[in-house]
Amino acid sequence: MVNFFRKRLVQANRDGTFTIRFPDFIRELLVDLGSQLDTALDHDTNPDLHRLFPTAYADDAERDAGYQVFARGELIDSRREAIALLAETANNETLTDEELTSWMHVVNDVRLVLGTRLDVSEDGHDDVEPDHPDHTLYVLYHELGMILSEIVDGLMSALEQQSDGDEPDDDLEGFGINLTDRPDDSHPSDEN
């Protein structure tokens, strides 16, 4: 397999956008998987999808049924919106935070479905021999993990840039107050 994860594939820009360097075949793959997920959501009782609709009240079936009534529709709608936004922006070199977040949702949702289907375990020993009937799905599962990781790295660095950015702003503001508090310390002749 080609190792295309050599440099940062999702880069947070200073203006809040993201530069996306995924190759075309990855973009096409994500659109295709999104479309498959969209179709699968028509049958949301499919056991492979159960991780997309977790239980809220573990010990109270009645309350959980109430939760599912309003939450399930919302969870399906928000997933479909993410899939649609991914499909619209799949070929863009630059994405907004909202668009990249949609990509993240689709990749993670598909990963959840695949992981459920493959019944993966946490120990990471999920590699199977190439002749295993699910080999392709395992490879896909791991690829999606790497793609997700790139996306989250990008979103996380933007989140950190935001919180880093707050501090210098505060400092500048404080500096400004000092200056205006002591206007006479400067040279009055400089003012027109």
């Binding site: 977790p54 009240y57 928000s78 946490e122 993990g145 979103l155 996380m156």
Partner: protein, 97 residues
């Protein structure tokens, strides 16, 4: 876990009525699929936690099997659970005892 409160006998159906006022807590459970880095990011994004706190909670989920990430009224807890579910995290809510 220890329980230091005195033992009380409460009628079973009284229980559910009186308890409405007690806070609910939102618990995230460990699962074999979600990436640790992703879980930590979701905590930062949804709850505004700093990186250190988000990572500590993520480690609790990973190592202890669960972590309480928020608490509040039933409505607030349900909202947080729903936001976590929309991110594919395995979250439940339960009332403080």
């Amino acid at each position: 876990m220890t329980n230091t409160s005195p033992v009380e006998l409460i009628e079973p159906d009284l229980d559910t009525v009186v308890d409405e006022d007690l806070p609910w807590k939102v618990i995230v459970w460990n699962d074999p699929i979600n990436l640790m880095q992703y879980v930590s990011f979701v905590f930062q994004k949804l709850f505004g936690f700093g990186k250190a706190k988000a990572e500590r909670l993520m480690r609790d989920v990973h190592e202890k099997g669960r972590a309480v990430v928020s608490s509040g009224t039933r409505t607030e807890a349900e909202r947080d659970v729903r936001r976590l579910h929309s991110h594919g995290l395995w979250a439940t809510m339960e009332q403080d005892e």
